[in-house]
């Protein structure tokens, strides 16, 4: 409910600063929703990344650009159709989904039993999520960390490298155009 209201507000507003702040609010509400769904660790991440760090990064980016949104030149008809069709397809897809918390759902039938029954014996850690993440699915998690590493290195190369190259001829180049 609140999520939808915030989403519409983000859509209607043209002041980018307000949009950034509202997307932070959106993340915070989403985090509260995750707590209500008993997914506390996802809520941690959503609150810290979505509401905290990405808002700060957005404000940082905002200080490099303009405060107001540009007036769009194209009519939004084609994107509207695409979004509506995709949304309808997604909602149609949810009809086949099992109910929330259904023990007979395919996701709950296959491996979950084994994790819940065997992991206290095999791993001996009360938090099954951690033992699945770090031990059973250790390879996946290694991949995820590598993704974060790659993303960090790529951002540093894009932003940091550009600045270093600019320094020798600081009068010309992209700097002048940005001012």
């Amino acid at each position: 409910m609140f999520l939808a209201v915030t989403g519409f507000a983000i859509l209607r507003l043209h002041s980018l600063f307000a949009v950034v702040m509202l997307s932070g609010v959106y993340s915070l509400i989403a985090a509260a929703m995750f707590v209500a769904l008993d997914a506390v660790d996802v809520a941690f991440t959503e609150a810290a990344v979505g509401a905290g760090i990405s808002t700060v990064l957005m404000v940082g980016a905002l200080s490099l650009t303009k405060q107001r949104e540009k007036i769009p030149v194209h009519t939004p008809l084609l994107p509207m159709v695409v979004v509506l069709v995709t949304g309808a397809a997604l909602i149609y897809g949810t009809f086949d989904m099992p109910n929330f918390g259904d023990p007979d759902a395919p996701a709950n039938r296959y491996l979950v039993d084994r994790y819940i029954q065997e992991s206290p014996k095999e791993i001996g850690i009360p938090n099954i999520v951690t033992s699945v993440l770090a031990s059973y699915r250790g390879f996946d998690t290694l991949g995820e960390v590598t993704v974060i590493f790659t993303a960090g290195v790529a951002v540093l190369m894009l932003i940091g490298g550009a600045r270093r190259r600019r320094r020798p001829d600081s009068r010309a180049g992209p700097e002048a155009t940005r001012e």
Partner: protein, 140 residues
């Protein structure tokens, strides 16, 4: 933001607790909700809050860019390295069981180290990206 006294004092009070909570989430991830990803992000948020209130220069003194950049890869290396150790002990890659005396304690040690690697990488990446972003408009 040097003159905002309320902000500075509130941040001074909060930052140690945020960091402590980050460490708690990091090393208590086996028993409660949490783990490396969450802890790294929370820890990075503490440093970023410090940078916002006390200025980028001071934050760079706390977390020098060179060290942060090195830590990004150190975390991945720690994860991958912990995975390699069992291979020398006759088990599969990332199978932590031989690390300890029993299977369970081995898994414990492995998971703790691996999560620590995750936390280091996540925190360092977040801090490094923030520093680059925040320093962009200024030092030219």
């Amino acid at each position: 933001m040097k003159h905002h006294r309320v902000l500075r004092i509130a941040a001074k009070l909060l930052i140690p607790f945020i960091m402590l909570f980050g460490l708690y989430v990091q090393f208590h991830g086996d028993f409660g909700p949490g783990g490396g990803f969450q802890a790294g992000v929370i820890f990075a948020a503490a440093i970023i809050l410090y940078a916002l209130i006390f200025g980028l220069e001071n934050a760079r003194k706390v977390a020098p860019t060179r060290i942060v950049t090195m830590l990004i890869s150190a975390g991945v290396l720690l994860f991958a390295g912990v995975g390699v150790v069992p291979m020398f002990l006759g088990a599969n890659y990332l199978d932590y069981s031989p690390l300890g005396a029993t299977q369970q304690s081995g898994q414990h040690i492995g998971i703790l180290l691996v999560e620590f690697g995750v936390g280091i990488t996540v925190a360092a990446t977040m801090i490094a990206i923030f520093f680059q972003f925040a320093g962009r408009g200024r030092d030219e």
